[in-house]
Amino acid sequence: MSLTPEKALRAYCAAFARHADGEIEALFAEDATLDLPLYDHSIDGKPAIMQELRTALRGLKDIRVDLHHVIETGDRAFAEGVFTAEHVGIPPHVDGTPVRLDFKFVAVATLRDGKIVHWREYFDTKPLKPRERTRLYPITRRSPYWDGTVEAGVSEFMVYNHTYFPLIFHHSPSEEYTALTERVTLWDVGCERQTELRGPDAVRLADYVTTRSLAKLKVGDCKYTLACDPEGRIICDPVLIHPFKDVVWLSHGDADLTLWTRGIALHGGFDVAVREPDVAPLQIQGPKSLEMLRGLVDTPLDDLGFYKCMPAKVAGIDAVVSRTGWSGGLGYEIFPLSSDRAMELWNALVEAGRPHGLMVTGPNVFRAVEKNVTDTAYYSNSDMNPYEAGHDRLVDLDKGKFIGCDALQRIAREGARRKTVGLLVEGELPLLEWYWPITDARGRAGEVRWAVHSFALGRNIAIAVVDAAISEGEMVTIKHQTGSSRATVTALPFV
């Protein structure tokens, strides 16, 4: 049956509210065009339209579309209405108020032969933005890609290594998750600083400061490792990069690792210079990252193995490229050897990514938790040691003297009191603002350290450190700012 414009418009809105993507698909002509304020360009063709709409639907729940006025004229229908929904993947506010996506709109549907050939909406995108920007102060450093992230629509930062870290952009969580898992994303991780060890004792000092053996380390190797304090507590979990002879970079998370390592070098008799170089990395993560980078990197990337690095020119700029990252999937990090041409590099990457649907985002915590590639930082690690963090394989107790080895030998001998587990959480969770306490029926304790919505599993998940006696399959109770939630202990990773 051929639909009138008004019926088609109403059918689209009703189907959208019911998440009935199949019904929406049937309404569009193959060569239809979609124009929404959310996109800078028209979306052309039914497959592309449906891809965008399915991503949108995955990120929304409790959708309601109320049409207040509908007018039909010839082959077009005009409507004024109100759209209301809740975001999926953005926890409720601290008082339990859900993060909503409510706005008024005008929609115009144009039909040909009973199918929608053009759908256009008019609305202000401001109510769609998850959060306002934080206030900014000059006491905290900026990444050299600052202008690029502003241009890309950054809306919230965290402070990381005394540097603003762009985390939230004007996208929904489901859009960013789709871009990371199906296309490619660009992250400004200029805040991920390098502790550079340069000199004849660079590897020897790195071996002393970190927990894995470096006896077989070769130029071009990278290693995920740990730096611990003398009590065996994790300071941070850097990626150790050996890009050149007598040069080691500890590419670290939020910790004053350069000061720590420099102090050790000064008083430890190491023939080495320790400093924080002007090296601000970028991450290109996602299944299309290799394809995107091929034309930009002057050295073939295809043979670069997992946790390997190589010097290369990227868009004509001297850099080190490594096959590392925080996505748990295919991805690369680029470490330019200077920030002098930072925006030139950024712009070249954005341009190269355009044909591949690149999206500028922050690191995707949803995927990181699903893949269990989270990190640990000294000032918020709850005194965790590597065995409690599930990092047994990152400690080589037999490698010789290193910082923390005595304490870690004792812990290994006696057994860790806690362990890191996954939690499958029932129901909704608020935003994790600080670690939530956990108890079980026997009063054993723990705390939630990460909590997100899993788009892969369609439910909330968490990573917790718990009493070592708690086993997989047991139920625990999480206490949080809006009440409590039940959860089942499970193995990691989730996917």
């Binding site: 006025h69 007018i71 004229t73 005009f78 004024e80 005008v106 008019y122 202000d124 995108t125 809306s155």
Partner: protein
């Protein structure tokens, strides 16, 4: 008796001429006016005039163009574009816009403009017409 379309045309003429008096005269005493840039709904002649004054103050040029309009006996819905150059900006920005308009006894009772106001906001994303929020 003015049609809804003629009232929209009159509003656009007044708006594009930056004529506060002409614009205000088109609205009923308790009219509702919505424009994303203002950050809220404006109610009544005084608030509408204040909001329009703030727009004219902050823009070097501003122009509303209507491309097509259709109406029932209750409401008009129009498509077009808003082009504005703020004093702080080096160039004007044009955004697609839709307008809905309702009227009674020859006066506009509700005029709502739908557009993505992103290019006109400060990068810090606050409403730029802070005066209208007072």
């Amino acid at each position: 008796m003015m049609t809804l379309k003629s009232q929209l045309d009159a509003y656009c003429r007044a708006f594009n001429a930056r004529s506060l008096d002409a614009a205000r005269a088109l609205f009923a005493d308790h009219a509702l006016f919505e424009l994303p840039l203002l950050g809220q709904r404006l109610f009544g002649g005084d608030e509408i005039a204040q909001g329009l004054a703030r727009i004219f103050e902050l823009t070097e040029t501003v122009r509303l163009e209507i491309a097509a309009a259709t109406e029932s006996d209750r409401i008009l819905i129009a498509e077009g574009a808003l082009t504005a150059k703020l004093h702080r900006d080096s160039a004007a920005a044009t955004m697609p816009a839709a307008i809905t308009l309702q009227a009674r006894d020859g006066k506009i009772t509700r005029l709502a403009t739908y557009l993505d106001a992103r290019p006109y906001r400060l990068w810090t994303d606050g409403p730029i017409f802070a005066g209208a929020q007072a």
